[in-house]
């Protein structure tokens, strides 16, 4: 399987996971969306040196991986492209902020290192939370939740269409690269000289295909608004789930819970 086939397969697999009948998947999409936004909001609001406090937020993805019966290893594999990029955030901090702010034994830890780690953890946690939302909620349900939250219709439609066009673009890329490799046997990768026409062709083909898809939508009554099937009701379990997580996340953000636990052990 080449890289593009792998990407298509990963994309389809995430799509299938979101449609499974697991407990996590059945939680109302609006609640999952709200909690994800709340989690990301609270996570990024931690002060730059408060690494200890931020560690407490790991509880949310940890528990979700458990109750959602999701594989952490698989998620790391899927996010292998994104995670290094988000880890670059704050990589320059150690060079600018050299004041020692704490010590681990004899080793002094500078503010730069601490803020870099805090930023990296914030980014990783935010990406993981988004990933957890995507693999437990189908795109239709996410868009339904956005509609319920009175997001502008045009944005909801954009989200749905972009999601659809990812697969269109991937399929076109596969066709073009397959055609190339069949006529360039034994060649590793794509020659630099071929990149220009190849990308140009891909763009033209994708536009052409997107145009036909749009025509197909218009011919079936599309007027700019996606009418989504989801009309699920909020159950008691959903409300309980929302209340417990909101309380837990606020406690983890407002109080130094891990410090208290640490002190209790040291005592």
């Amino acid at each position: 399987m080449n890289k593009i086939d792998g990407a298509i397969s990963q994309f389809q697999s995430m799509d299938s996971m979101a449609k499974e009948d697991r407990w996590m998947n059945q939680i109302h999409p609006s609640i999952k969306l709200f909690l994800t936004v709340l989690f990301i909001g609270l996570t990024v609001s931690f002060p730059k040196y408060n690494l200890t406090g931020l560690f407490g937020m790991i509880l949310y993805p940890f528990v979700l991986f458990q109750i959602g019966e999701l594989s952490f290893r698989e998620s790391l594999y899927r996010l292998r492209v994104v995670l290094p990029i988000v880890c670059i955030v704050g990589i320059a901090n150690p060079f600018f902020d050299r004041a020692v702010v704490t010590r681990i034994g004899e080793i002094g830890v500078t503010g730069g290192v601490l803020s870099m780690l805090t930023l990296m953890l914030k980014a990783v946690l935010s990406v993981l939370a988004s990933y957890l939302l995507i693999v437990t909620t189908s795109i239709e349900k996410i868009c339904y939740a956005l509609q319920q939250a009175h997001f502008p219709q045009i944005l909801v439609t954009e989200v749905l269409l972009i999601y659809r066009y990812i697969s269109v673009l991937l399929a076109e890329t596969r066709r073009v690269t397959q055609a190339y490799h069949l006529r360039a046997p034994g060649q590793k990768g794509i020659a630099i000289g071929a990149w220009g026409p190849l990308v140009g062709q891909m763009l033209l083909r994708s536009m052409d295909r997107a145009e036909r898809l749009y025509q197909s939508m218009c011919l079936r009554g599309f007027d700019g608004t996606f009418h989504l099937k989801e009309k699920s009701h909020v159950r008691r379990t959903d409300i309980l789930y929302l209340l417990i997580w909101t309380a837990l996340l606020l406690i983890l953000r407002l109080f130094p819970v891990l410090e208290w636990v640490g002190r209790w052990f040291v005592r």
Binding site: S138, I139, A171, R212, L213, S216, L219
Partner: protein
Amino acid sequence: MTEIEVKNISFSYEQKIPVLENIAFCAGTGEAIGLIGANGAGKSTLLKLLVGLDLGYTGEIRVGDVVLGKKTLAAVRKKIGYVFQDSDSQMFMTTVEEDIAFAPRNYGLSREETALRVERALEQVHIKALRDKSIYKLSGGEKKLASIATVLSMDPDIILMDEPSVALDPKNRRNLIRVINELKGIKIIASHDLDFIWDTCERTILIHNGRIVCDGDTEMILRDKELLEANGLELPLSLYIRR
């Protein structure tokens, strides 16, 4: 029932080279019409004009009592189902069921009516088992049937199909013929697969260089070797074998 009437349609793209010239025909209740012609004859273009995908033509297209135009586009499209040549370009929702329900939801039907339409469309093309299947995972034949179901859920009076038999294996082709023959309403099928037209249409319109050369009984036209060859086609393979 709706009729479709095409009055002296002429059309050209930007280069001003005519793609269609003085096309005129009429299709009535329950008719199945084959549009045949060599590559580039103008078959697909004609189908696109019939659903208003391009309105830059001269002449008139009338669907029932409605003349096709910018203001009547929505009303006309509600009556016509268009099956694209490439099924991948037709379906875009995640599952077969979602894609079939797309049109009824857009037309504001209730959830119950939408569910009923989906059920009926799946039954009509015999793909009930594919209901929850992801559209990425369908085979070529399944895709074609699913794409027909996506327009059947609109309950159209007229169905247009562009090269429906392309890239189908014999079994899927036979299955598709059976499904098409079971469909009610006006069917206009553009194809250069003459055996397919032979099996599905009782009337045929032969187009060559954007003009209608012949309009009549399918058997009569498809048996006319000279006529077909003069217009870039050949006798259907099944007739060769019978000879």
